[in-house]
């Protein structure tokens, strides 16, 4: 499983702005990612579709004012992938037959190269669609949209409170590391010793927080989290009939594509 980059603090990728992409209802942007994914993996195959979607996403990013940021993030996350993908498949793909060029006895093949480019294009299309969402949607807006749509408030809580807790957790982690190192914890010994050192680092983090959490859950009870009846919120997310229509259209397109894929 790939490791997402560990960012310290509460750094979300959101970029403040007032463009149409920012004002668009979060569900529309989410459904667009889903639609892109379904087109790519269940819809018509072939590079023209992928290139079209990537270009479309690029234009949208431009009009939303997040093109440079998206470009940079794409480079950062796709460059290592691209290098590994092209070299590994170009040299080692099982279907390799036609040699494109050779370094001595090492041969670089066409089949592997085409396969790698195809995978990269597909990934690019989905990734750019999700970047449109991530860069132009404040997490708080998504959470408000979820509660306004009548989803259970517990879901909004589960999505929002981790974002608030994360910076606190990072601070505590630094303190625990410092505390255990001060007590002579061996973090540079052999593999087995370092493995054993996991326990005194992780245990205080979890136990300390669990004890504290008991109190938090009491606080939640008082705030009436499980109370029946509709909840109200401060932030309101603008919606329109047009946007609703777009949502349903995308929804039906997704269903159609999936049905089409099953009966193909």
């Amino acid at each position: 499983m790939p490791q997402p980059e560990k960012q310290s603090g509460n750094a979300t990728l959101f970029i403040a702005g007032k463009s149409w992409l920012h004002r668009l209802h979060p569900f529309n942007k989410l459904l667009y990612i889903l639609l892109t994914g379904v087109i790519i993996y269940a819809g018509p195959k072939g590079w023209p579709v992928e290139v079209f979607l990537i270009t479309l996403n690029g234009i949208m990013a431009l009009t939303g004012g997040v093109f440079t940021a998206a470009w940079r993030l794409l480079w950062r996350s796709l460059l290592p992938l691209t290098l590994f993908m092209i070299t590994i498949h170009g040299f080692l793909h099982a279907d390799n037959r036609i040699i494109l060029f050779s370094f001595g006895r090492l041969h670089f093949y066409q089949e592997g190269f085409v396969f790698a480019i195809n995978v990269l294009l597909q990934l690019n299309a989905v990734l750019t669609a999700s970047l449109l969402f991530v860069f132009c949607t404040h997490p708080a807006d998504l959470i408000s949209a979820i509660s306004q749509a009548g989803w259970p408030p517990s879901l909004a809580y589960l999505l929002s409170s981790p974002l608030l807790l994360l910076p606190l957790m990072h601070t505590r982690i630094r303190t625990i590391q410092a505390a255990q190192r001060s007590r002579g914890l061996d973090s540079e010994g052999n593999f087995f010793k370092r493995f054993l050192a996991l326990f005194p680092l992780v245990t205080p983090l979890v136990l300390g927080a669990l004890v504290e959490m008991e109190q938090r859950s009491i606080a939640l009870e008082i705030r009436g989290f499980n109370a029946p009846g509709p909840t109200t919120s401060w932030r309101t997310i603008a919606d329109s009939t047009g946007q609703q229509a777009a949502r349903w259209t995308m929804f039906f397109l997704i269903i159609l594509l999936i049905i089409g894929r099953i009966f193909r």
């Binding site: 007590r183 002579g184 205080p204 136990l207």
Partner: protein, 268 residues
């Protein structure tokens, strides 16, 4: 062991210095308090003593030896550091194991570990609780476990960050007893605290920090008489000093006993 800090400067990345040109000397066996309001650099300074933080400039010597190339793991056998919140360090299922954690890391022989743990537990009246799960105990009991586990490391230098926070008066008496024992063993103890009453009674020398600079280094009596210094450092006079000043005692008292002595002297 003697501690000597020379012109220590420390900053987080490119910000304003958190420690700005701090120099000080602490003799072997001395008991010193480090005071100042939140963010004055006390804890940051403490973390320099065992290598958790490294100064941007300046040198730290312990017993004449520079410590800037020594690892935290090695320095942990010389300087023990108590962190404010016991829950940041408690990791074992038994109180006894928790207190033995430090000495075991320092690879002391089995027999010595047993003696050190038993002594430290006794200092804080934890012997009857030695088989308990620390997290089944109350907060102040966990604080005592944390203190015992630091003292059990038997290091020549101890730095205690807010040792009295969350403790009741009876437990503070236990802590006072432990400090006496450390003095008898000729250990250097540095106490970081907001508890001015505790400091006035127990610590002869204070070092005040404000904005990362050393503002005062001297006798506790002098510090608590200097109103402008206390204002700069955001500190309040201990209750007994205020009471004694209120009654215009010529030499302000630092302990209830001193106050009564002054009182009787005047009555004569």
């Amino acid at each position: 062991m003697q501690i000597r800090l020379e012109n220590i400067i420390f900053r987080y990345s490119a910000g304003v210095p958190v420690l700005n040109d701090i120099s000080l000397d602490i003799k072997k066996g001395e008991r010193v308090a480090l005071i100042g309001h939140n963010g004055s650099g006390k804890t940051t300074l403490a973390k320099h003593l065992n290598g958790l933080l490294r100064p941007a400039a300046g040198t730290i010597r312990i017993d004449g030896r520079k410590t800037d190339t020594e690892s935290v793991a090695r320095l942990s056998g010389i300087v023990a550091l108590l962190f404010q919140n016991p829950d940041d360090m408690i990791a074992k299922r038994r109180v006894w194991d928790e207190v033995a954690f430090g000495p075991k890391n320092l690879a002391y022989p089995e027999g010595r570990i047993k003696i050190l743990v038993a002594e430290s537990l006794a200092l804080f009246e934890l012997l009857p609780l030695q088989d308990c799960n620390p997290y089944d105990l109350g907060y102040s009991e966990r604080k005592r476990v944390a203190l015992a586990s630091i003292i059990a490391m038997d290091t020549p230098i101890l730095v205690l960050d807010e040792p009295t926070a969350g403790m009741d008066p009876r437990e503070i008496v236990l802590l006072t007893g432990a400090l006496e024992k450390l003095r008898e063993d000729y250990k250097t103890v540095i106490i970081i605290s907001h508890d001015m009453d505790f400091i006035a009674e127990l610590v002869p020398r204070v070092i005040c920090l404000a904005g990362g600079k050393k503002r005062f280094d001297g006798l506790v009596r002098q510090a608590f008489q200097d109103q402008s210094l206390l204002a700069v450092c955001g500190l309040l006079q201990p209750q007994i000093v205020r009471l004694s000043t209120y009654f215009r005692q010529t030499e302000p008292a630092l302990t209830p006993v001193e106050f009564l002595e002054n009182w009787q002297r005047r009555a004569k």
